[in-house]
């Protein structure tokens, strides 16, 4: 056998002479760009599900804000109309509209969504349905449409989210099954969300100060984004009415700015607030997400169709995952879901350039950020739910709009984004999106320290 090896060596020397005295020609060396998963994987294929449009309404404070006198279907209709108008799509080509919505009564809300579709100019041939996975419903709707497109049910679909917490505040109707006494986890599903926030901050040691700082940062970033006009790309102005609570006078208004943002929020202001859910707790109104009204819509289709129609591609849907966690600390949902979604997309956490992690409460947001070791410069760069608001069912869809538009602004270096939220009753959901249009391969080469050509070599 040695003979064979030696003969091979001799022959190899003819083809690749190692010693060269004067002139050095080309020599092989390990690829310095390394095998970062994002670099070479995920090519673009015609059957990718892509997002060609994503819009949202402004998010307004429930009961007191700009949409307090707006019907839920009047929130949805403008965004549905926008995704069609801005892309010049024939609405009859839409295969389905899936709307995530949480608090409205099941059948009524579904009917309202159907009616909204008619307001938006959709023909009767376009079906509508709703989906409810609590806070992730908007994201779940987008994922459902992507899955249906992949399954071949239709080629073009709209995933949307809608919530009017003015019309439907969080409430429990009817009695509670006494059986929950015997099932702690079931009982914990009934915990007020604020209590789960206190559970998280207690168990994982997130201090009041950290939470308030996160809230201040959220407001600061959201205010900066609004001031610089970043949200103009994604917000659809809604023409609606406001009824003066004292005089009953109706006024016609156009709502196009998130009205929950406090540009001048400071740490000291927040420190003054009293804990709401537990006597000596840490969760206050300031470091919790706001109760809001709003809607968002995302137009998805196959890449081949988008190219055929000449539509610029805003983003590519890569993966979605929903996981279950302990209902008592439901806020840890993103920490559980994000790694799974990233892995499902064939990536690593390092490959993700931008995150939208819903700030249901500062406690869980800070915990998840620290647990995953994420760079805070990459998360909620334009503010989060504490400043902008959290209209439960709409949040997922609104995050898609915010994320994709921000990735578009950041340029080709910002290739992958993740949206994630915790879900009441103990779940987490996460989805990975890729920036639209083609990837600049040269700029996405990442330098690595070790020259292993493959991750498996580690």
């Amino acid at each position: 056998m040695d003979k064979a090896i030696n003969r091979q060596k001799v022959l190899l020397q003819h083809l690749n002479p190692s010693q060269s005295s004067s002139s050095t020609s080309l020599s092989a060396s390990a690829c310095l760009a390394g095998d970062s998963a994002a670099y070479h994987r995920t090519a673009s294929f015609g059957d990718d599900v892509v997002i060609v449009a994503a819009y949202r309404t402004a998010l307004c404070k429930a009961k007191r804000g700009g949409f307090k006198d707006t019907h839920a279907d009047d929130l949805l209709a403008p965004v549905l109309k926008a995704v069609i108008e801005k892309t010049n799509l024939n609405p009859s080509e839409v295969g389905d509209i899936v709307v995530g919505s949480v608090l409205g009564g099941g059948s009524q809300r579904a009917s309202e969504c159907r009616m909204a579709a008619f307001y938006a100019g959709f023909p009767e041939t376009v079906p509508v349905r709703t989906v409810n996975r609590q806070c992730s419903s908007g994201l779940q709707a987008v994922a459902d449409v992507a899955a249906a497109i992949r399954a071949g049910f239709y080629d073009i679909g709209i995933g949307a989210g809608l919530e009017s917490m003015t019309t439907n505040p969080m409430a429990w109707e009817g009695s509670v099954n006494p059986k929950v006494q015997m099932f702690e986890q079931a009982q914990n599903c009934l915990l007020p969300m604020g209590i789960t926030s206190e559970n998280v901050s207690n168990r994982f040691g997130v201090s009041r100060k950290e939470q308030d700082e996160a809230a201040v940062e959220s407001h600061r970033r959201a205010a900066a984004a609004t001031a610089s006009g970043k949200f103009k790309d994604e917000i659809i102005p809604v023409l609606t009415k406001i009824v003066d609570p004292k005089t009953g006078e109706e006024k016609s208004v156009t709502i196009s700015v998130d009205d929950g943002i406090r540009p001048n929020a400071t740490l000291s202001d927040l420190a003054k607030l009293k804990p709401v859910f537990k006597k000596d707790g840490t969760t206050t109104a300031g470091n919790s997400s706001q109760v809001s009204d709003g809607a968002g819509a995302v137009l998805l289709m196959k890449r081949s169709i988008a190219i055929q129609k000449g539509l610029p591609i805003l983003g590519v849907f890569r993966s979605f995952v929903a996981v279950g966690v302990d209902p008592a600390i439901m806020g840890v949902g993103p920490a559980a879901a994000i790694p799974v979604a990233v892995k499902a997309a064939g990536l690593e956490l390092d490959d993700i350039d931008l995150f939208e992690i819903n700030e249901a409460f500062a406690s869980q947001f800070v915990y998840c950020r620290n647990k995953l070791g994420l760079d805070s410069q990459k998360i909620n760069v334009n503010g989060g739910a504490m400043a902008i608001g959290h209209p439960l069912g709409a949040t997922g869809a609104r995050c898609v709009a915010t994320l994709l538009h921000e990735m578009k602004r950041r340029g080709k270096d910002c290739r992958f984004g993740v949206i994630s939220m915790c879900i009441g009753t103990g779940m987490g959901a996460a989805a990975v999106f890729e920036r639209g249009d083609s990837v600049d391969e040269l700029r996405n080469a990442r330098k690595v320290d070790d020259l292993y050509l493959s991750k498996d070599a580690r």
């Binding site: 064979a4 020397q13 003819h14 060269s20 004067s22 002139s23």
Partner: protein, 318 residues
């Protein structure tokens, strides 16, 4: 022009000096790395449309790297075998009597064999054990061993004019000229910066020698002035495996290379490449020009094919 498919990968091809339509082909299994070998003696038919036929085939336990015809007997071939032995075969004898001789002195692969065309009584074997050995047909052991090279000797070639002079090309990047009457080498040419895989003497000028190297070039030297080559022939894409001067035209030479092509050069001309033949689909490792038929070229390669064609024609045309 005909093509012959050998079962093993081709390593060397030589025209018989006696019969114009007879060639010997040295082949080795698995590219010569591991396995058996076979020596084919083929007959070209006078009608070019008819295929090449096989007169004889001899199997060996290890690959055969080179073959040479005896200049004294029309039916004897010498095979350089990879297991270090040099075997003699006689076509006139039945297969059971073959090989008639097996000389096993080299300690490593024998890479080349060459028969003395002037004296016709002796032949050389060049081996990867850094030595060249001189043999005669009648003696059971080598007449002389020339041990000076520092690495594998790839080729040793007799001078066509001077009976006792030969050149050896080695992986130590030198070409050595020897005279069998002298104790050591008479000249050392540091011809290339990389291994020299083949050399050949010019048939019309006894001082001109060509070397083919891993650096993809062929250099033509005048041994009287060996500091600077007469010409450097570039054009091959990979190491040049074999070079042979034409027996009919003074300036013409043929070479084959790992870049799968066979090239014909005129080294006295500025634009030296005369033709390039790319019929092989694997390394082209063996090439020869017939002494008896002007312009007839044979080549073989690792693609297990032997081509015989007239220079200027398409080797693949039938």
């Amino acid at each position: 022009m005909p093509v012959f498919k050998t079962p093993f990968n081709g390593y060397s091809v030589k025209f018989s000096p006696f019969y114009e339509n007879r060639i010997a082909v040295a082949t080795a299994q698995n590219f010569g790395i591991l396995g058996n070998g076979r020596l084919h003696v083929l007959e070209l038919s006078s009608n070019p449309t008819l295929p090449i036929s096989e007169i004889a085939a001899y199997d060996t336990a290890d690959g055969i790297y080179d073959v040479t015809w005896s200049e004294s007997h029309d039916s004897i071939v010498v095979a350089a075998v990879a297991d270090g032995s040099v075997k003699l075969y006689d076509l006139a004898l039945p297969p059971t009597a073959n090989p008639i001789r097996s000389f096993h002195e080299h300690t490593r692969e024998v890479h080349s064999a060459d028969y003395n065309p002037v004296r016709r009584d002796s032949f050389l074997s060049a081996s990867w054990d850094d030595t060249v050995k001189l043999w005669t047909l009648d003696r059971p052991t080598s007449v002389r061993t020339f041990k000076e090279h520092a690495y594998c000797v790839y080729s040793s070639v007799w001078n066509p004019r001077h009976a006792d002079v030969f050149a050896s090309a080695s992986g130590d990047c030198t070409l050595r000229i020897w005279d069998v009457r002298e104790p050591g080498s008479t000249m050392i040419l540091p011809a290339h910066d990389h291994e020299i895989l083949s050399c050949d003497w010019n048939k019309y000028d006894d001082c001109i020698i060509a070397t083919a190297s891993v650096d993809k070039s062929i250099k033509v030297w005048d041994v009287r002035n060996f500091r600077v080559p007469i010409s450097v022939l570039n054009g091959h894409g990979y190491a040049v495996r074999k070079v042979k001067f034409s027996p009919h035209v003074r300036n013409l030479m043929v070479s084959c290379s790992y870049d799968m092509t066979v090239c014909v050069w005129d080294f006295m001309v500025e634009d030296a490449l005369v033709s390039r033949y790319d019929q092989h689909t694997e390394f082209a490792v063996g090439v020869d020009m017939s002494v008896l038929v002007e312009g007839l070229i044979a080549s073989t390669g690792w693609d297990e094919l032997v081509y015989v064609w007239q220079h200027g024609t398409d080797p693949r045309a039938s």
